[in-house]
């Protein structure tokens, strides 16, 4: 399949700490996206990084992409209790066009 693994599967940290989630994939990609899902809700798009980019920032989010290792990481700095959610990476293959394939996700719990 196109998608690999995300790790960790679950992460518990204290408010104010940084949270890092990793994502690996198997095929050459056009872009990689990160989404957030609160329990029982739909997913919300956080950030996109294209295959020719290595790093992007958006507020407290920092995403890196290493196409040689087929991996990406999402860093949330100065986490808040409201960041508690599941986070998913999703890839669009180089010739995938409209198909967006999701990983299994990381469940983040931020303790107040």
């Amino acid at each position: 399949s196109q998608q690999g693994e995300e790790d960790p599967q679950a992460l518990s940290i204290q408010e104010g700490e940084n949270a890092t989630m990793n994502c690996s994939y198997k095929t050459s990609i056009n872009n990689l996206q990160w989404y957030r899902q609160n329990s029982g809700r739909g997913l919300v798009h956080l950030i996109l990084i294209r295959s020719n980019e290595r790093e992007k920032h958006s507020g407290r989010l920092r995403v890196t992409l290493d196409t040689s290792k087929k991996s990406s990481s999402l860093l949330i700095t100065a986490s808040r209790a409201a960041d508690t959610a599941s986070y998913f990476c999703a890839t669009v293959a180089l010739r995938g066009g409209f198909k967006t394939i999701f990983g299994a996700g990381t469940r983040l719990f931020v303790k107040a």
Binding site: Q33, G42, G97, K99, T100, F102, G103, A104, G105, R107
Partner: protein, 115 residues
């Protein structure tokens, strides 16, 4: 602005009964439309996607089918539900004018329990 509506929010159906989940998008034209399924505590599995009316791509052979009778309407159906069809079903759309998906907008999901 664009909005996506998905209903019902929850559904309990007996094994062998039919299914029809509906999703509609407002405020945009010619969107790409998607159905995903999510098992409890797991990632999303792409079931179907559509780039135009009557155009359906199936990703996983299964007990389900999809139809797009109108530009902004996407329907997920089954003639006879199985226990394994239980899950959280999510509809999503993306702008159709782009050559590649860069962002999906999700509905609020339908929790389907087949008993």
């Amino acid at each position: 602005s664009q909005t996506i509506h998905q209903w019902p929010a929850t559904l309990v159906q007996p094994v062998g009964s039919p299914l029809s989940l509906e999703c509609t998008v407002e405020g945009t034209s010619n969107p790409n439309l998607y159905w995903y399924r999510q098992a409890a505590g797991r990632g999303l599995q792409l079931l179907f996607y559509s780039v135009g009316i009557g155009q359906i791509s199936s990703e996983v052979p299964q007990n389900l089918s999809a139809s797009r009778p109108q530009d902004r309407q996407f329907i997920l159906s089954s003639k006879k539900l199985l226990l394994s069809d239980s899950g959280f079903y999510l509809c999503a759309w993306s702008p159709g004018r782009l050559a590649t998906n860069e962002k999906l907008f999700f509905g609020s999901g339908t929790q389907l329990s087949v008993l």
